[in-house]
Structures are given as C-alpha cells and as structure tokens.
Amino acid sequence: MTDLLHFEDFRAGQIFALGTHTLTPEEMIDYARDFDPQPQHLDPDAAKDLLGGLAASGWYLCALAMRMMVDGLFNRSTSLGAPGVDEVQWRRPVRAGDKVRLDGEVLDRRDSSRPERGFVRFRFSMWRAKETGEDERVMMFTCSVMFRRRASAGSA
C-alpha cells in the first residue's frame, strides 16, 4: 500500500505521462455503436460532412483518456474518483490510425470537507503525434480528483 500515490504526493506543476495509443477503426466504431451512432463515427464512407471523414466520438476520446488515466495513474493511487469535470474541449477531429498520447498536469490541490481526503486538480491533454513540428493538442479537460491522504493520528 505504501507504493500508492496519496494526496500529499501531488504538487502543482507535476506532469504525468500517461502513455500512447493508436486508434483503430474497430474501437471507434465499437464505442459509437453503443453510445454515439452517428454516420461520422460509424461509417467510413458516409462520413464526409463536418468532420471530413470517419472521426472518433468526442465522448469516446473522454473514455479513452479515462482508460489511460486509470492504467497510467489512478490504479497506482488512492483515487476515489472525481465529482465532475470543469471543461472539455474537443479541438481537432481524431481519426483511425492517429497515434495519441495523454498527459496530466497538476494545477493545484485543495482540502476536502472530509479530513481523510483531498482534491487534486489536473489538466489532462490528449496530443496527436505529428511527423514534423510540435504535437497537436486534440482534446483537453480539467477535473478535480479525490485522493486519500496518508494515514495520520488525527484522521477520523
């Protein structure tokens, strides 16, 4: 248990690299069939309207980011989940074959009304690797995540 990251282990300015992932059409369509069955998310041939071709559902990108956050950070921490997300920006269409990476920057920390917990506010950014030049930010959101504090004599 001592290996788990607790509230006290987070500091403003830390950046956690949360892995990379190359999107497949199968995973995009699998999500879209269940939750966002629009032509631009389902059908490579029908989707030539606003997004200019098959593109991932924005909510799929959130779900994918969540998976990367859990695998890369939360499952080695005392995370108790998040009560909300302040702002999600879907900045660029993301397509099959795109290689994305996720990072999470600690913005600040604050106490909880429960003394055994605290909130850490992150900005999570999904970037698309580009062959030349800087990676392109395709999605970002900010959210406050609850973590347990390290046990102390005063914790109730």
């Binding site: 939750f35 966002d36 909510w59 779900a63 859990v70 997300v85 999600v88 879907w90």
Partner: protein, 165 residues
C-alpha cells in the same frame, strides 16, 4: 430542426436508461477499470459501499439518448436538417450522486443560448443545460453542452452551400 427555430427555455425529456450491474461493469472494464466500478467486493469495501457507474458511462448514455431522441423525432416526421452533429466541447460536468445498479435515470435537455460560430457561418452554436435524475427525482448528473446546428438556408438551392441557377 433548424437553428433559428429551436426554442430556448423549453425543457425536453430525452429518455431513460436502466443502469445494471452488468452494464456498469461492462462499460468500466473497457474504459474505467477502477475497483469501485468493476469489482463488487472491492466496491463494497470502498467509501461508496458498493458498485457505482463510471461518470463517463453516465455521460455516454446522455449521448446515446440524444441520438435516439433525434431519430425518434425524424421518424415522427420532423425534417432532418443535418446528417451529423459536432460539438466543440462541454462544461460544468457534475456527478453529484453516484449512479448504482438498479437506478433508472431520466435525462433532460434545455437549450438556453444561441451563439454565432464564425468559422462555419452556415451553423450556429446551441448551448443547452442537461440534467439527469434517478427514479426518486434526485439529480445524479448535470452539464452544459454545445452543438453546431445548421441554419435554415436562405433558399432551398443553398442547402449544401452551393448556389445553383
């Protein structure tokens, strides 16, 4: 419905969804495998005292119900004004009460603002307040969505942006 015709301040019920142990775990295994979403025993020992749905599951169901609602309206004869819907983002997502197996959650949407979207002048940006309630009427989810809605073409010949004689 065209952007211009959408009434503001008119709350609609998008639909309802039954959260079950099975669909909560299935979603979370794929997308959010934290112990309190995927493991009944670990969830029982957690501060939540039992299995709870991933917040992204609650969010994804909103999208599912929006699409089903639109399809239903078109099946009832409403004009299909655009083939697909795109959003630049959402904000103020709140999950104030955990969603648990057995809950039947009803989602509502209330458009409250219309904004210009200069990079795509044939569309306007519609903002809506969204809420979801369990079967006891307790708020379990809320957020503000944004969606690009096609404006009514000036003439029917300009529906695709091209002017034809």
């Amino acid at each position: 419905m065209w952007f211009e015709e959408i009434p503001l301040g008119n709350k609609i019920t998008l639909g309802s969804y039954a959260f079950t142990e099975e669909n909560i775990i299935a979603f979370a295994r794929k997308y959010d495998p934290q112990p309190f979403h995927v493991d009944k025993d670990a969830a029982a020992r957690s501060p939540y005292g039992g299995l709870i749905a991933s917040g992204w599951h609650t969010s994804s169901v909103w999208m599912k119900l929006v699409i089903a609602y639109r399809h239903g309206r078109i099946a009832e004869g409403e004009e299909a004004t655009q083939a697909n819907f795109v959003s630049p983002g959402v904000r103020e997502i709140r999950w104030p009460k955990p969603v648990r197996p057995g809950m039947i959650v009803t989602y509502t949407n209330e458009p409250f603002a219309k904004l210009d979207w200069p990079s795509l002048p044939q569309y306007g940006l519609l903002e809506g307040k969204n809420e979801a309630f369990d079967q006891d009427g307790t708020l379990v989810y809320s957020f503000i969505n944004q969606v690009l809605m096609a404006r009514r073409p000036a003439t029917s010949g300009r529906a695709d942006g091209n002017v034809r004689p």
